[in-house]
Symmetry: D2
Subunit: 245 residues, 4 copies
């Protein structure tokens, strides 16, 4: 699907197998490919957003995102269990090469003292100041949740150790966040998206993606989903800052 | 808080301690009491809906509800693990004395063949018919999710065994559903509700409850929350029926 | 495998497929059948004990037992989370129709105030006395772990409510205990048993079961495994009584 | 407790508070300190081994070890969930600065293709050979479990990528392994150790550590516990190699 040739072959295969409608499940890469496939084949395609990164425009959330957030917080809860007795700073790297949706929700849910996302610049000296102030005010441990795209987590550990004199420990969750049994939110979203996608194909839709806005199941043009940049909710970010102060 | 005398004493205590605003966290019982307390004391009160039953009007969901749904599905997943090799029907009783919000979401997320809620009448013979048809069509096990208020689960087990000749096993989740570490959805909702509740007190609100509608944090009169009956989402119920057919 | 005819057919199938050794994984029923199959077919058989009930003689423990114990305690932990604020007695029925191995380890690990197993007679009035004394001494909630073979859990709930005036709630774990991902103990035991079973077949053993005694992998005659009655560890039972007093 | 002065002060505090017996819970550092405290104060001390590292001589296992092993495997299971579709090598760093007990049990339980522990030298080119052979033989993903003391995990990732051309991803579990609710094995061990430690103090023991050997609760001199080097079970290591081949 990554070359023009591949897409033409895929289109042929679909036609020769009598496929007259397609449901494409995935993220922006999937939808970019699906969109080309539609243009080549003319076969109606409905996209279902399913990625732990939640970086798909036209929908509030994606299948798998809530699952990944919960996986991360259940893991970080275990760090919190012993954190206060260890008197350390913990840096936890979560997924998100380009976007900070996962880091933001994880950090807020975990009450992280610092949340680092690719969308917002930060200076290590500001982090060090915040940590030192937290110690002076009586905190005995702090958690920094960092999207992998926000910088090099191991460098950050060294810089904070040098800048504060505090002991810093690193956890890199990695692909743990891609597995596990789906949460209720992810499952119910899958039920709604799947059901609506089938209806849309039956209704004669050509190239759309299902999504959710508040409680409503909606749809957008498939190209919108991967061409538009979804905005990070800065109010959530500020809420996290207020609550961890 | 259950007697007029108790409420008057509570009002006195609040005043003598110089309390000039109250945040009441709980379900309809809590809000009924809080409303009386406001009338007696005049102290501004903001309610935060937090109950695993989700039976509070004026808000789509409550703190704790998503946690309880996930606790139940993680438990029922374990039944699914061995269900097909056991060739049995499993009845799982979940909480919900008067309302079926929990049973409905759990049943949908679990792909339960039958979901029984207090709001919708059912006949055991219809359930038996559905189960027998499922066996004829090749299913080797079925799960029935039942709100405790929908009937007597143990009687249902016996009636289905008599009506179908199938082996039926019972699980009663009980208070397992009230515990556990909160999910991301419950935590983030708590962050939003808590923050907004404080703002509302500062803004001079007298007797309201915070809630969520879609993605928006809203508020309703505190009395609305417990006087109004929140409707079960029948579209979800039908979706569950379609997907488990 | 339950009729002589079935066993003869199984023996034939094995021979006609050129099978010259068998590893039978299961509990006493499996080994009873395997033993007959050996006598009819002469094909060497090594049994591997794998049952959540742990009721197999000749081995300290079985594959799956530790998994089931952990599943039960993770569930009951959630009851403990809110138990003290509810001021109730919780009866939790765990698996074990004839034996109390599971109930005993779960009860000990959970610090249950009362553990009921089929091997030890009890009088409801003694339980009621213990519960009433616990309340006088300041406990605000109690957990009773009961093997399903120790009596009718729902009757017990009613009898305790009548005998103490306390509110009693029931949880029936049921088949939840049969599923889930295996624990480290169960997995490593499976590695050791499986490896040793293969070696034994290669060494020319005819009809044995592998087992574990302390840290040593041992073997016993296959018939011993299901004919002998494994004893419940009464020291564990007394330890549980002491620790929950 | 780290200076002679500190220990003398601790001894004084114990005496002035009328403490005539001490139970010290921890690992080798705790027991080293406890031993000095005994020599200075003469107060009888019984040690209880509780460390996730399991690096205490005189006992097969320690409180917390089984919990940490299970935490690690539940996390790595989530990597396995999507590993085959990603066609990658996953390096998972687990705790163990000086010893490989945790890495070994985790690796065996997880079926890891490679297990790296501080006690056994390895060459990166041998790992690369093994991985390339695995791919030729049809494996689509491999997991390497590495104790933190076995080398630099990030360097290993780069070396394997260069040596094999395969994509390699890193997870560093870190302090996640120190938290969480204890498993049944850890809880029951705590019951047995705690009960025996109290008995030993009552029996007039002066300076011992409780331990477990097979199924028997034993005791050793407290100094033995931290002076002796416990051996890694090389048979387990070979078993892991055989099963993952």
């Amino acid at each position: 699907m990554k070359t023009q040739e591949g897409i033409e072959k895929a289109a042929e295969n679909l036609k020769s197998n009598g496929i007259d409608g397609l449901i494409a499940i995935g993220g922006d890469g999937t939808f970019r490919g699906a969109s080309k496939l539609y243009r080549v084949s003319g076969i109606p395609i409905v996209g279902i957003p399913a990625t732990i990164d939640n970086d798909v425009a036209g929908t509030d959330t994606t299948i798998g995102f809530d699952t990944a957030v919960n996986t991360a917080i259940m893991a970080i809860d275990r760090i919190r269990d012993t954190a206060t007795s260890h008197e350390r700073v913990f840096v936890v790297e979560v997924m998100g090469r380009r976007r900070g949706f996962l880091a933001l929700e994880v950090g807020l849910a975990e009450g992280a003292e610092v949340i680092l996302v690719p969308e917002i610049r930060f200076r290590v000296e500001d982090i060090c100041k915040k940590l030192k102030r937290a110690r002076r005010e009586g905190k005995t441990s702090e958690i920094i949740v960092m999207a992998e795209g926000a910088g090099d987590s191991r460098d950050l550990v060294h810089q904070i150790e040098r800048g504060t004199g505090l002991e810093v420990r690193l956890t890199v969750l990695g692909h743990i966040q891609r597995g596990g049994s789906p949460t209720a939110v992810s499952r119910i979203l899958a039920c709604k998206f799947g059901s609506r996608a089938v209806e849309m194909l039956l209704e004669g839709v050509k190239k759309r993606m299902v999504g959710i806005r508040g409680r409503r199941i909606v749809s957008v043009d498939l190209d919108y989903a991967w061409r538009e940049q979804k905005e990070l909710d800065l109010r959530l970010y500020r809420l996290a800052e207020i609550l961890s102060a």
